[in-house]
């Protein structure tokens, strides 16, 4: 076990897989010689060569299109999209091709891609470096969508994604790259150093995609969340002194509704939190599903805390971000409702 931050854990996952499986290739803008603008692919080209760790032209649609062809020809490409905000030029290749290939060809052809991309705000990136577009991928059948919240999960899930024969869109909350973040921008930035989930095995291990984690056990209310908001929810619950169970779903699709429903049936209350804009975001699916599964147990309406329905503004980042205060307030309101 070593202490790794999320960047190191992700790097280690690719390192392990490049070494184990000669069909794994890594590609993307600036990922090769330079090691990526967030350094997630640092040193991999040097170690595995320019034919396995490829710098690419700046064409997200081309990266995914070419990677699909590579996947069809027996490789396991791990493509980086430099920012999730720049994944849209690849949306057609992802939705119309990657997600459909197995189905339309009755499994005669498949492309086991992993598409990694940093998402989320909290780094003053403004409206084009802060988005969380998981919702517009979760709706697309044929792909899986994953978002880890800590180094241990990040490595185990990325290895699982690379080994998965289905395509996986792997969202990396960039605010967590260097440390956990409890949603309070006034506090000094934290490092992963003392976080239990930063103890990461150096070698190979994998986590099952589609299993939620109970990030904090509790009995009074269920908080369903993922990514950066896992830390914010825990911090909010603790600040409020509320015995909340925080569930880190880790993947949107497959969704581990059983773990969620069990908790909500136990607590009778539920708060959903994500950073993406609220309207028609993934929280809507969570809310709808939970309501369908746990209607008779609910003692209060399911609450959603999310980014406002605006672009992510540079100057008002902390007004936009659903931070500790906003979650606390919502949690308090939820607990005050008489069931």
């Amino acid at each position: 076990m070593t202490i790794m931050n999320m960047v190191q854990a992700l790097n280690s996952a690719m390192d392990v897989m490049l070494a184990r499986d000669s069909s794994v290739v890594v590609l993307g803008e600036d990922v090769g010689y330079f090691g990526g603008v967030f350094r997630v692919t640092d040193a991999l080209q040097k170690k595995y060569g320019a034919h396995r760790v490829l710098d690419t032209p700046i064409a997200e649609g081309g990266i995914v299109g070419a990677a699909i062809g590579m996947g069809v020809n027996g490789l396991r490409p791990v493509a980086e999209i430099q920012f999730a905000d720049y994944i849209y030029p690849a949306y057609d290749q992802i939705v119309s091709e990657l997600a459909r290939l197995r189905y339309r060809s009755a499994a005669a052809f498949t492309a086991p891609l992993t598409i990694r991309t940093p998402c989320g705000g909290g780094i003053r990136g403004g409206q084009t470096h802060s988005q969380s577009p998981e919702g517009v991928f979760a709706h697309v059948s044929g792909i899986k969508t994953v978002m880890p919240s800590n180094p241990y999960d990040a490595k185990g899930l990325l290895i699982a994604a690379i080994e998965d024969d289905d395509p996986v869109i792997f969202f990396e909350p960039k605010r967590l790259y260097n440390g956990p973040f409890d949603g309070d921008p006034e506090r000094p930035a934290q490092a992963w150093t003392n976080h239990p989930m930063a103890e990461v095995p150096e070698g190979y291990y994998r986590l099952e995609i589609g299993k939620a984690a109970v990030a904090r056990a509790g009995g009074a209310v269920t908080m369903v969340t993922y990514g950066t908001m896992v830390h914010v929810c825990i911090a909010a619950a603790e600040a409020e002194g509320i015995d909340a169970e925080v569930i880190d779903i880790r993947s949107m699709m497959p969704l581990d509704i059983d773990t969620i429903a069990q908790s909500v049936e136990k607590t009778g209350r539920c708060l959903i939190a994500h950073e993406a804009t609220r309207f028609a975001g993934f929280g809507a699916e969570l809310s709808a599903s939970i309501q369908e599964h746990c209607f008779w147990s609910l003692e209060a309406p399911i609450a959603r805390v999310a980014g406002w329905d605006t672009p992510y503004p540079h100057a008002f980042e902390w007004h936009y971000f659903p931070g500790k205060q906003r979650v606390r307030r919502s949690l308090r309101q939820l607990m005050q409702i008489e069931g």
């Binding site: 290739v25 034919h51 396995r52 690419t56 032209p57 064409a59 649609g61 081309g62 299109g65 070419a66 990677a67 699909i68 062809g69 590579m70 996947g71 069809v72 020809n73 027996g74 490789l75 030029p89 057609d92 290749q93 119309s96 091709e97 459909r100 290939l101 197995r102 189905y103 339309r104 060809s105 009755a106 499994a107 005669a108 052809f109 498949t110 059948s141 044929g142 899986k144 024969d165 289905d166 589609g210 699709m253 497959p254 969704l255 509704i257």
Partner: protein, 409 residues
Amino acid sequence: MSEPKLHVPAVPARPGETPDFSYVNLAPAGAVMKPDPRVPVAETVALAESLIRVLDEQGKACGPWNPKLSPDRLIVGLREMLLTRVFDDRMQRTQRQGRITFYIRSYGEEAVSVAAAAALARSDMLFPSYRNQGLFIARGVSLVELMCQLLSNTRDMCKGRQLPVMYHAAEENIFSLSGNLATQFPQAVGWSMAAAIKGESRIAAAWIGEGSTAAADFHHALTFAKVYKAPVILNVVNNQWAISTFQGYAGGEQRSFAARGPGVGIAGLRVDGNDYLAVYAATQWAAERARCGEGATLIELVTYRAGAHSTSDDPTRYRPREEFAEWPLGDPAERLKQHLIQLGAWSESQHAALLAELEETVATAWKQAMAYGTLSEGPKLDPKLMFSDVYKNMPEHLRLQCEQMEREA
């Protein structure tokens, strides 16, 4: 507001007007030189603007691009073109009769697929468009198999999921068709990059229509092919029309599509797409170039979409009926036939006999295919197939939806 001056591409003739193909830049057969496949890109500039032709007006093969194929090989080519055509005609009729829901013919463009398939190795991977049924036929995919796809019946290779004509043939190294135009172009490039990464000498070839060159994926393919010198052949089938839209709307006015190749730094060839020998030779040249590490070639195949876009289309609404008769590059099957006759290797009566045989082959296959069911008459595919292959293993929510469907049936 003063007089608007936005340019809109001229369409040579609309219904009721006289066909006018003066815009097509022609060249006599044999006129274009044939460089070594290893030449620098710049030396293909002229080839991308001229027109590589082998068969002349009299059906004689001439010039340096003559691939000098044996008459036996040519007869196989003729047979494959005609089989494609007979198959197309029959399937079109079955569509009119309501047996299949949709069909797309390749009438007039058969050489583009059939000659290319002949020039490539069986292990090379093909990424077709919906008008390349000739590739499936030339690679020997059984007609029954194709028909079962068209019928969405119990033997449908796509298990009922795809529109008719959206075939694939993994064993014959032909990729799965997509309804989305041009998406296969960067995929073919990526496939060929993987071959190069693995150190294999297999190459890829892909086809799109000239209208589809406007799509982003055409650009992605060219860029990636150029940057990594990918061993791929990128074919643009310029059949002059994209549904109702004339090729000028894809940028074809006074500019060949092949010129896009040298424009980005890959070789370009403009080829008479209705000349079996020219298509064969150009494909062979590009394949050799790819295999010896010189990278991609963009081949424009100049041809004419003799039929409707698809069975949903009525071309008399937007172009003169007589266009195909006036098309300066003729009919590919007719031209190869004349060549064989001129060589003394073929006759009208052999031709008639062949056609009759092919009609029979197709009819027999159709009977067999129908025995496996149609979309409306049993035996039918199990609707539960709807839920498999979305993922490798069926996720829980799909298993539940599948159960729900069964309960409600």
